[in-house]
């Protein structure tokens, strides 16, 4: 029966039960319970007191976040509806959840990797749908985006098996079985080191062993702060990685909502990595997302250092404007607001700001000077940056300069701006600023295609890095 009907039925029966209780003497013995047949009918098949709960497993139960996990259930009734639900808390304490509806097989089993979800946060056969399909629980704060702050502890995801096809956050549900899965951003043995030397604000992650290692400089966008979770993952893959903060961090100079550091800062950070005793100095690459892409291109063309390869994700070739820091305080450079557009919900779309035609010409880097392989990743539904146009510009310039072989483009239909390591949910929109006014920005991307893009891009990025940094 539908979940709603079941709830009504339960409510009706509870009333009946209460009346029975009122009319009867309360005797704590077996016969009391046998006089309440309606309650017994209600009792979950599994909780009759004779059979154990169904068996639920998740493998591997402790994994890196880019590893697939396989969830299986057995000792269930055959051909029965069940709901698989996942819940976890972000580092900020927000509850995120997802669910999928399955029908068990003739032998009373199901498998998340082989079976199709017929309802819920995702549809079809999607082994990791329960993870990338997560959303903030009803009643959550507006505009949330899931980002790991403390990479030294895992996300703990409670995966539950529920009876029937239910919507866990709305319906009354009975948890039949549960497993806890740990999702890590860090492999065992990876060391995290704060780098506050020479005013460089960052976190260095070193793989285990004596090295020396190839290395990566890791750059994020105007959201600011120090985002460690991609660098920690790269270190878990054997690359010494430095995540660098350049805006919106308490240890950086000047007001937090502007970029108060320049080429010398970025150059110093790159050289910090090159000069590290455990790093192979001519095998250092750079990865940048959004504005971090611009920083990447600047370091490669204007600072004199020689990176071994570059990965640019959805970012501009010229400078866009500082809009806010990670805590939501805003200072707006009025001259660039003219390129902001809004959708009918009032969400701000930054895309036009980075159209090559709108970029201040002096800020556009000398792309023809690029001398190392560059992989550019485009989300075709990117609403925050004009990724396609910027990619075109880089490709065209390199072709004219006789270096087309340096350029690789990965383009993903339906993917948005925030192409991050795989299996984390995409934020189609999230809170950008609180003051002077609350702004939610549209990043773009639809759940399933964005998830596919993240999975494919990550694998290709790692192959690209291995091909260029380990030869």
């Amino acid at each position: 029966m539908a979940a709603k009907d079941a709830a009504m039925f339960r409510a009706r029966v509870s009333v009946t039960a209460i009346q029975l209780l009122i009319n009867m003497e309360m005797k704590p013995c077996l016969s009391f319970y046998s006089k309440l047949p309606s309650l017994q009918q209600l009792s979950v098949r599994w909780k009759s007191g004779v059979r154990p709960a169904p068996f639920l497993t998740a493998t591997p139960v402790r994994a890196l976040i880019d590893e697939q996990i396989s969830i299986r259930g057995s000792f269930l009734p055959p051909h029965s509806p069940i709901t698989l639900s996942a819940r976890m808390h972000s580092d900020e304490g927000d509850l995120w959840e997802s669910f999928a509806h399955f029908n068990t097989s003739a032998s009373g089993t199901f498998s998340s990797t082989n079976d199709h979800s017929v309802g819920g946060s995702y549809l079809g056969c999607e082994p990791m749908g329960l993870f990338w399909g997560m959303e903030p629980a009803p009643g959550s704060r507006e505009g949330l985006r899931l980002r790991k702050r403390n990479v030294e502890a895992p996300y703990v995801v409670r995966i539950s098996l529920l009876e029937g096809h239910v919507s866990p956050s709305e319906d009354q549900t009975t948890e039949l079985a549960a497993v806890n899965a740990e999702r890590w951003y860090l492999s065992p043995g990876v060391k995290r080191i704060d780098t506050l030397q020479n005013g460089i604000v960052g976190a260095l992650f070193l793989p285990p062993g004596p090295g020396p290692f190839p290395a990566m400089l890791d750059l994020w966008g105007m959201g600011g702060g120090l985002q460690e979770y991609r660098a920690s993952l790269l270190a878990s893959k054997g690359f010494a990685s430095l995540s660098l903060a350049y805006i919106g961090h308490k240890d950086l100079p000047g007001p937090p909502n502007r970029v108060n550091v320049g080429d010398s800062y970025f150059k110093a950070a790159f050289q910090l990595l090159q000069d590290h005793p455990q790093v192979i100095s001519d095998r250092v690459g750079i990865i940048g997302l959004s504005f971090g892409c611009y920083v990447t291109l600047r370091i490669a063309t204007r600072t004199g250092v020689k990176p071994a390869c570059l990965v640019c994700i959805n970012g501009p070739v010229g400078s866009t404007v500082t809009l806010s820091d990670s805590e939501g305080r805003t200072e707006i450079f009025d001259s660039y607001q003219k390129y902001w557009t809004y959708d009918d919900q009032g969400y701000v779309i930054f895309k036009e700001v980075s159209l090559p035609a709108n970029l201040p010409p002096d800020s556009i880097v000398e792309l023809e000077k690029l001398d190392c392989p560059l992989m550019y990743i485009v989300g075709e539904d990117d609403l925050s940056a004009s990724s396609i146009e910027n990619a075109d510009m880089i490709e065209e310039t390199l072709r004219s300069a006789g270096k087309p072989h340096l350029f690789t483009r990965l383009s993903y239909p339906g993917a948005g701006h925030l192409i991050e390591p795989p299996y984390s949910p995409n934020a189609r929109a999230s809170l950008w600023s609180v003051k002077p006014k609350k702004l939610i920005t549209l990043w773009g991307g639809h759940p399933a295609p964005h998830a596919a893009a993240q999975e494919d891009a990550w694998e290709k990025v790692l192959n690209f890095l291995n091909a260029n940094l380990r030869r």
């Binding site: 154990p52 539950s160 079985a177 549960a178 806890n180 492999s187 030869r471």
Partner: protein, 435 residues
């Protein structure tokens, strides 16, 4: 094209796993055809270091896949995905008679896996490896709860799986070494069975009163399981190893209080006075002390203690009366107990009595006495303190490393299937002789 060996890539997937899960160790980007040594190092809780290593040749792609390629030498040879763990041996210069057992099950075993250039056999500590990874091997899955139990005077620890339950339960008994050994119970809880690790030799009661526990002690342990709101009283099993099997056989056949859904006996024997207490069992063993032998290395061989097995039912638990499924796991090279001979005799007894459909017998030709969860190292002998006599001696357990490792892996897999079938299934207990 010469590739710089510094770019060699090493990975072990998964890097965090339960101790009974397999991993894949992969070396990539090495010089094709080059000689490589894959090395594992573990420092256990008592500070001793254990190592394993294997010699490989990188293929045309510069890859070594430990799960698919053949080791040409080292602490194991041939294709052995988990050889780096089960062939771990104390490093040269270690104290003799070491045995690896995890005491704190809430932290993982850390194993450092490295790849070295060339075919090395020693001096690993002095060389720089080409690459290193660290793996964590856990006895507890996330969400498993560890609950010390002291009610009813017990010295025990309960491990509850994650989730609402209800769960089947299991009483987990080790042998004559005593102590509260938690790791197998923790692992079983990680597989969905609420398990109680019970110390019955060096428990608080025995240490204080200097007396052996009575049958009631085990009945109380059973009660803790049966009364727990998240455990099903009708689905409780008992698992014993070595001396623990004596308790298990006795309980399965004679106990009026403990109703077992199924029983597992590893490396044990049914040889004991009928329906006796632990004290009587121990006296029976001591009365045969003249049968103890020593080998050339002065290692104790206890296996003759209970031999020969009489053809009548004198001093043999009447397993023909057992009413629940029984899984027997024995090593044919067991030098500590006559487990194999006992198992053969039990099979015959059950066939005569007509209840052999309840018996599943797993017998391993090269396994010794200590058949434990897989991928932990085998020792043929080790220092052992017998808790009933308080003497420390070097005891010969038996087994050949390769055969013993295979036995541990195979028996554990089948043990889990056996327990799941009988404890989770809704149908009546069925024989699993097809295992």
């Amino acid at each position: 094209m010469e590739r710089n060996p510094l770019f060699v890539k090493l990975s072990a997937q998964p890097s965090r796993a339960l101790v009974d899960e397999r991993f894949v160790v992969l070396v990539q980007n090495a010089v094709p055809g080059s000689q490589l040594t894959v090395h594992a190092l573990h420092q256990c809780e008592d500070g001793h270091s254990w190592q394993a290593f294997a010699h490989y040749i990188a293929d045309a792609m510069g890859t070594v896949n430990v799960s698919e390629d053949s080791s040409l030498g080292g602490t194991y040879t041939g294709t052995e995905a988990m050889g780096l763990l089960w062939s771990l041996k104390p490093v040269p210069g270690s104290k003799p008679g070491l045995r690896m057992r995890k005491k704190n099950v809430q932290t993982p075993m850390l194993v450092t896996i490295s790849v070295y250039q060339g075919h090395q056999t020693d001096g690993f500590v002095d060389q720089a490896p080409l690459a290193t990874v660290v793996v964590e091997r856990w006895y507890m899955a996330p969400g498993v709860r560890r609950i010390p139990v002291t009610e009813y005077g017990l010295t025990a620890t309960l491990f509850l799986p994650a989730g609402p339950g209800p769960f089947p339960g299991l009483l987990d008994l080790w042998g004559g070494g005593g102590q509260l050994v938690e790791y197998r119970a923790a692992l079983l809880a990680s597989h969905g069975i609420a398990s109680l690790a019970l110390d019955y030799l060096t428990c608080k009661y025995s240490m204080e009163t200097k007396k052996t526990v009575s049958n009631q002690y085990f009945e109380m342990a059973y009660r803790v399981l049966a009364e727990h709101p998240q455990i099903l009283g009708s689905r409780i099993a008992m698992l014993g190893l070595s001396l623990g099997t004596s308790i298990t056989f006795r309980t399965a056949v004679y106990s009026q209080v403990i109703k077992l859904r199924c029983a597992v006996c590893i490396s044990g024997s049914h040889r004991q006075p009928h329906n006796s207490s632990l004290e009587e069992i121990l006296s029976f063993f001591h009365s045969n002390a003249d049968k103890i032998r020593f080998n050339e290395e002065n290692e104790v061989i206890w296996r003759d203690l209970l031999l020969p097995i009489p053809s009548d039912s004198t001093n043999k638990v009447e397993v023909g009366q057992i009413k629940c499924p029984l899984l027997l796991i024995v090593g044919e090279d067991d030098q500590n107990w006559c487990a194999y001979e006992s198992a053969m005799d039990m099979k015959e007894m059950m066939e005569k009595a007509g209840n052999s459909h309840l018996l599943t017998l797993l017998s391993y030709p090269e396994a010794g006495h200590l058949i434990e969860p897989p991928y932990t190292p085998h020792v043929r002998s080790s220092q052992f303190r017998d808790m009933s006599t308080r003497q420390i001696m070097m005891v010969l357990w038996g087994g050949q490393t390769l055969g013993h490792a295979r036995a541990q892996e195979d028996s554990w897999k089948k043990l889990l299937v056996f327990l799941r079938e009988h404890l989770y299934s809704s149908s009546k207990p069925a024989p699993l002789s097809h295992l």
